[in-house]
Amino acid sequence: MSARQIPANYRIETVKIPQDVIASKMTAAGYIPDRELATALWLMDSLSRPLLLEGEAGVGKTEVARALAETHGTKLIRLQCYEGLDQSSALYEWNYQRQLLAIKAREGADADAVEEHIFSERYLLERPLLASIRQPVSPVLLIDEIDRADEEFEAFLLELLADFQISIPELGTITATTIPRVVLTSNGTRELSDALRRRCLYHYVDFPEADREARIVLSRIPHIDAALALQVATMVGLIRKEELRKSPGVAETLDWAAALVGLEVRHLQDDPETVHATMMCLIKTAEDRSRITPEVTARLIGKVA
C-alpha cells in the first residue's frame, strides 16, 4: 500500500453536510445556531414546511428569522399577531380614499367601467401575507407570536400555508409567484391547534448554554474581552437558575455586557458593587430585584470565578 493512497474515510469527511453549511451561514449573519436549529432550518428548505419556534420570551426566536433572511439575501416580511388581528390587516385592504377620489374624478362616466377600474390592483393595499407570496425572490415570512392571534385566524393561516393562494372576491384568485419560507413563533400563552403543529417543523429554543452565549456576546459586542464574555454568560446562566419571575433573555445579556464594557469592568470579581448596580439590565421586576441582593450577587460572582 503506497503512502499516497487516500484513506478509506476520506470522501465521507469531505461531503458537505447541509446543516453545517447553514450553521456557518447563520453564524456569518450574526446568529449562532445549535445543531438542532441548523437541522430544522435545513429541513425547512428541503421539505418546504413552515418552522414553528417555541420558547420563553427573550431567547432570540425573532432573531432566527432575521438572520435567515440575511443568509438567503431576501426580504424579511413580518406579521406581528395580536388579539383581534383580522384579514384586512394581515392580508389585503382596498385603498378606500383613492377609490373615492377615483369615483369623484370619473363622475358621469359609465358606472361599470368605474367599478372595474377602482377594483383593480392599483387600489389594492398589500398586507404582509399577500406581500409575501408576490415577491420576485422568495422572502422569509415571520409570523410573530401566533399564539396571540385568535383561533379563527390560525385556521385561516393554515389554509394559506397549505395552498399559498389568496382569493379576493372583487379581483379573483392570486396564486403565489414564490413560496415564502415561513417562520412562526409562539410564547405559549395559548395552546396552538394540533393541525398547525403537525404541519410545522418544531424547534424549542432554549436559553443558550454558557459557551454559546459567550460566542453570541463576542460576535455582537465589539471590543469585549473573551474572558469577560464567558464570565458574563456564566453569570447570566446562574441568574436564570435563581427562581425569578422574569428570567433575563439573550438581549438582556447583550445589554449587560455592553454596560460592563462601557464602565470598563474587566473582571466581574474586580468590582462587585458596579456589577450589582448594573444588574438593572438583567432584572426587570421589583420582586426579582429584591431577591437578588448584593450578597446574592457576590455569591454568584464567587461561583463564576
Binding site: V15, A40, L47, Q97, T189, R197
Partner: protein, 395 residues
C-alpha cells in the same frame, strides 16, 4: 429541494417498514403524525445530511415533535426502537394503551414515577362501606333523581345510585356548557353601529357615511380550569368530581383539568377519552397514587410554574376542589394562592365539607387560602354543583 423529492426511491422496502413501525410507536405515545410527515421522513432518511444516527435523530425530531413535551418521548422512543437501549422503557412504551397517556406526568419528573396500578378505587371503597351507612342513599320519593341531587355524596352508596349520580353530574356539566356558550354567542352577534365614529369618519368623505364603524363586544369564551384534590381525605368525593370534570372537559370548548395529591398531574388528555367510565377508571388509578397527605402549596407551585402561563387567560375561572387539609407548608400555600390570584380572573374554592353541619374552615391550609378566594362554596351534593352555574355565567 426538488432533488430530495426524487431520491426517496432509493430506500429499501425493509427500511420503509421499519419507519412505519417507528411512526406507529410514536403515535401510540401520543405524538400527532400524519401521512405527509411519514412521507417526508422517508425523504429525510435518504439524505446524506441524515446519514448518521444522531443527525437522523435531530432531523426526525424536528419533523415529528409538535410540542415541548414530545421531545423527551421522542428521544426515549428513538433509543428504544432503533438501538433497543433502555429496554425498560420499551416495555412501558408497548404497554401504553392509547394516546390519552400524553401529558399525564408532571413536567420533568420523567416517566418512571407512575403510581402503582393496584391502588384502590374510591367507588369500590364506597360500596364496601355499605354496612356502616345503612343505605341512606335510597330514599323513597316522587322524584328519585331530585332527591339524589340533595344527598351528600358520602351517603350515595348503592351501586345504582352511584351510577345515577354520575350520570347527573355529567349531564349537569353538559347543560352548564350549553347555557353559558349560548349566551356568549348571542352577545357575539350583537353588532351595533357606532354612530358617533361613523359620522366622524364621514367628514373626511364630504359627509357621505362611507366607512361604517361598528361596535362589537369581543368576548373570550370562559375558560374553566379545575384543580381536584384526590388525596385520601377526599376519596369519597373524588370519583364523582372526576365524572363531573369529564363532563366539563367534554363540553366546554375551553377547559383544563388537573388532579393533585402530593404532586400535580395534568389530566385533560386522559379525560378526553370518549367513554366516561373508562376515563374515570383510568383517572382514579392515577389520582389514588402515592397517598401520604396533600401538598396543596407545592401542587399550586407546580401549576403556577409550568401550566399557568399556558392555561390561564384573562377570562379564566380556576376552580379548586379540596377540603383544605394540607400537609405541606401553609406559608407556601398562601404565597402560591397570591400568585395565582394575580393571574386569573376568579378563584372558586369548592369544599365538600361546607355542606356538613357546624363546619368552620379551621384547617390551617384552608385559612391561609381563604383571603385569595372569590367564591367559597359547598360541593357536597349535585344541587350545590348546579348552584355554580349562575356564578360562572356572571364571570
Amino acid at each position: 429541494m426538488r432533488a430530495l423529492r426524487q431520491s426517496e426511491g432509493s430506500l429499501g422496502a425493509s427500511v420503509r417498514e421499519r419507519l412505519v413501525a417507528f411512526v406507529r410507536v410514536l403515535r401510540d405515545n401520543g405524538l400527532v403524525i400524519g401521512l405527509a410527515e411519514t412521507h417526508d421522513a422517508l425523504l429525510i432518511m435518504s439524505e446524506p445530511g441524515a446519514a448518521r444516527p444522531h443527525r437522523l435523530r435531530v432531523a426526525l425530531r424536528a419533523l415529528f415533535c409538535n410540542r415541548r413535551s414530545d421531545l423527551q418521548k421522542f428521544d426515549d422512543a428513538f433509543d428504544a426502537f432503533w438501538f433497543t437501549r433502555n429496554t425498560r422503557s420499551v416495555v412501558k412504551l408497548a404497554g401504553v394503551p392509547t394516546k390519552a397517556q400524553a401529558g399525564q406526568f408532571a413536567p420533568r419528573t420523567g416517566t418512571s414515577d407512575q403510581p402503582g396500578a393496584g391502588a384502590p378505587d374510591p367507588v369500590q371503597r364506597g360500596e364496601g362501606d355499605d354496612t356502616s351507612q345503612g343505605g341512606r342513599g335510597t330514599r323513597e320519593g316522587a322524584s328519585h333523581v331530585e332527591n339524589l341531587a340533595q344527598i351528600d355524596f358520602r351517603h350515595i352508596v348503592a351501586p345504582g345510585d352511584i351510577a345515577a349520580a354520575h350520570g347527573i353530574a355529567a349531564r349537569l356539566a353538559k347543560s352548564m356548557r350549553a347555557r353559558l356558550t349560548r349566551r356568549m354567542r348571542a352577545r357575539r352577534r350583537g353588532q351595533i353601529l357606532d354612530l358617533r365614529r361613523t359620522i366622524r369618519s364621514s367628514v373626511a368623505h364630504g359627509g357621505v357615511p362611507f366607512q361604517l364603524a361598528y361596535r362589537q363586544r369581543r368576548h373570550k369564551p370562559l375558560r374553566l380550569v379545575v384543580l381536584l384534590d384526590a388525596s385520601g381525605s377526599m376519596s369519597l368525593y373524588s370519583a364523582i368530581f372526576l365524572r363531573f370534570m369529564h363532563g366539563v372537559l367534554d363540553c366546554f370548548r375551553e377547559a383544563e383539568a388537573f388532579v393533585f395529591h402530593t404532586k400535580l398531574v395534568h389530566v385533560s388528555p386522559a379525560l378526553r377519552e370518549r367513554d366516561p367510565q373508562r376515563a374515570v377508571e383510568r383517572l382514579t388509578l392515577i389520582a389514588q397514587g402515592t397517598g401520604g397527605g396533600t401538598r396543596i402549596g407545592e401542587s399550586l407551585a407546580t401549576f403556577n410554574r409550568w401550566h399557568a402561563k399556558r392555561v390561564i387567560h384573562s377570562r379564566t375561572c380556576v376552580m379548586i376542589v379540596s377540603d383544605g387539609y394540607d400537609t405541606g407548608s401553609t406559608s407556601q400555600l398562601a404565597d402560591e394562592m397570591a400568585a395565582l390570584r394575580r393571574r386569573c380572573r376568579r378563584i372558586a374554592w369548592l369544599n365538600p365539607m361546607i355542606g356538613w353541619q357546624d363546619y368552620a374552615p379551621e384547617a390551617a391550609g384552608m385559612k391561609a387560602a381563604l383571603p385569595y378566594v372569590d367564591l367559597f362554596a359547598p360541593a357536597h351534593n349535585l344541587a350545590s354543583l348546579q348552584a355554580l352555574e349562575p356564578y360562572l355565567a356572571r364571570i
